[in-house]
């Protein structure tokens, strides 16, 4: 098996289903470093993505584009907008593909990371979702099947959080609290971890 429209649908639903149990945690993380809305925003967005009609999407690229459209109307927050940009990148990268091999996932994540860096102007090491994506892209190198993707992806995002916890934030709202940010998880990286774990869950 590989990545298909149906698989994307399942993944999106899993994230939406996980939201209630992580929303408060994400809000709390953002309250310490930003405006406290990462969880609420993500819950709204996950619901909108889960509601998106993928039945007319003939291929993986179209499915990601449909998700981008649904997401684009659901939030204007930084992370949400970057997620929309990610979906658009994935849509472009997988245009007309009926399915995408697991082995290509790492390259796709790297493309997403590049797109987000271009949009959001964050650098590697700024302690944002970009660093999480960086670990994820590297962790997926050589992962050729669902099981290894699952195992290596979750390990990568966990590691990213652990490695960055003691560093300072240099981007987004958290920049204002750079000093305070030492010892705290970046809400965007935390969100990425939760999303990856939700999708990977069996």
């Amino acid at each position: 098996m590989a990545i298909t429209v149906a698989g994307i649908e399942v993944a999106v639903r899993r994230v939406a289903a996980r939201m209630p149990s992580i929303e408060a945690e994400l809000n709390a993380a953002d309250a310490k470093l930003g405006d406290g809305d990462t969880g609420g925003m993500l819950a709204r967005m996950a619901a909108a993505l889960a509601d998106a009609d993928l039945s007319t999407a003939g291929d993986v690229g179209a499915a990601f584009m449909a998700l981008a459209r649904a997401g684009a109307a659901s939030t204007g927050s930084s992370l949400g907008t970057l997620i929309v940009a990610s979906m658009m990148t994935l849509g472009r990268e997988t245009r007309d593909a009926e399915q995408v091999e697991w082995s290509e996932l790492g390259t796709l994540v790297a493309a997403v990371q590049a797109a987000i860096m271009q949009r959001g102007k964050a650098q590697l090491g700024d302690k944002t979702v970009v660093d999480g994506l960086d670990y994820l892209a590297q962790g997926l190198e050589g992962a050729n099947d669902a099981d290894s993707v699952r195992a290596w992806a979750t390990a990568a995002v966990d590691q990213a959080l652990a490695d960055f916890r003691e560093r300072r934030s240099k981007m987004g709202r958290a920049r204002t609290f750079a000093d305070r940010s030492v010892g705290l998880d970046d809400p965007g990286m935390l969100a990425l971890k939760e999303v990856v774990h939700a999708i990977a869950a069996v």
Binding site: A31, G34, D35, G36, D37, R69, A72, A73, S74, T75, G76, S77, S78, G80, T81, L82, V84, A85, M88, R119, G120, K121, G172, T176
Partner: protein, 332 residues
């Protein structure tokens, strides 16, 4: 900090409903009803001007839609960028075939959404140009002026751009005068007390009972210093010193001034500030060609004020004085 609201989640939508009910010259449009546009669009091949931004700053942003000013506004949640969909809808609403200027403040979220929406609009055949408000001198050093945030001074850019477009200016001309106005505008703010995002448990920042913050942003972004509160005159003097340390090339001794209230600060206090501004500028032989005093760009119930100077030239001045009308401001 108590508020007169219903469900916090409905804050923006209910506010917009009330806004257009009370001001029939404005209409809501778009899939999520998050675009404010003129009920009677200008049309006629006029260059369109779209803006957008988070809520919580009324009259900014959507209150400046009107004749001689803006055509449309994408409205975000409180202190959050407008979503991409509504940015795209605002651009479309502003489009009358002569191209659209996206004119908004330099904030990451707003930029990302407008940039993506602009690319989509371009793909639909609309010519889009972007100019960002970057007047807050406290938010980055002069060498990095393009990293500065946009605050109250954007009102001058709205006015100049709107007047130029109303007068039949081309997209290039409108872009040029807007950039020129922004390049000649400097703002600095002071804050006395925080504001609360509806539904939030507590303000996202605090200012001590006896403190004032110099250079605060309109979302409470940290400023230059925070210290013991002092007299209005002393604060004005420092604010003017900082602004006048960055007089732009081509300034000829005439300015438009905006003494802006951040929300809770009474008009009385704004006039007390303006009095000193006027005295000091007179001493420095700077002539106030356009005086504006009032709450033009706010942060909900934040107490504080900002001073903006726009170093006008003949063209900017005549555009600032051209007739215009929106729910919160009438000129001419």
């Amino acid at each position: 900090m108590k508020k007169l609201i219903n469900e916090p989640g409905n804050y923006v939508d209910e506010m917009l409903e009330g806004l257009v009910l009370a001001n029939p010259e404005l209409a809501l449009s778009g899939q999520g009803k998050r675009v404010v546009q003129r009920s009677a669009p200008a049309g006629n091949g006029k260059v369109g001007i779209a803006t957008g931004g988070g809520s919580g700053h009324l009259p900014l942003f959507c209150g400046y839609v009107g004749e001689g000013l803006l055509d449309s506004c994408a409205v975000g949640n409180v202190f959050e960028g407008p979503n991409m969909q509504s940015c795209l809808e605002a651009i479309s609403a502003a489009n009358a075939g002569a191209g659209v200027l996206c004119l908004y403040g330099n904030y990451g979220g707003d930029r990302m959404n407008f940039d993506m929406a602009s690319e989509m609009a371009e793909a639909e055949g609309i010519t889009v140009r972007t100019v960002l408000g970057i007047d807050d001198i406290a938010s980055a050093a002069p060498e990095e002026a393009d990293k500065r945030r946009g605050v109250a001074g954007i009102v001058f850019a709205y006015k100049a751009a709107g007047a130029k477009a109303a007068a039949g200016g081309s997209l290039d001309e409108v872009v040029e005068i807007t950039e020129r106005t922004i390049a000649r505008t400097r703002t600095i703010g002071i804050g006395l007390s925080p504001c609360l995002i509806p539904g939030a448990a507590a303000p996202s920042f605090e200012i001590g009972e006896t403190e004032v913050e110099m250079g605060i942003g309109i979302h409470g972004e940290a400023g230059i210093w925070r210290a013991a509160h002092r007299s209005a005159d002393e604060l004005v003097d420092e604010m003017l010193d900082r602004t006048l340390a960055e007089v732009p090339d081509g300034a000829d001794g005439r300015v438009a001034v905006l003494v802006n209230g951040l929300g809770a600060t009474p008009l009385d206090e704004l006039f007390i500030l303006y009095r000193r501004v006027s005295q000091r500028l007179t001493t420095r032989q700077i002539h106030i060609a356009v005086p504006l005093v009032g709450p033009f760009v706010t942060s909900m119930e934040m107490a504080g004020a900002s001073i903006s100077l726009c170093f006008v030239d003949d063209e900017i001045l005549s555009l600032l004085r051209a007739p215009a009308t929106c729910p919160f401001w009438r000129v001419g």
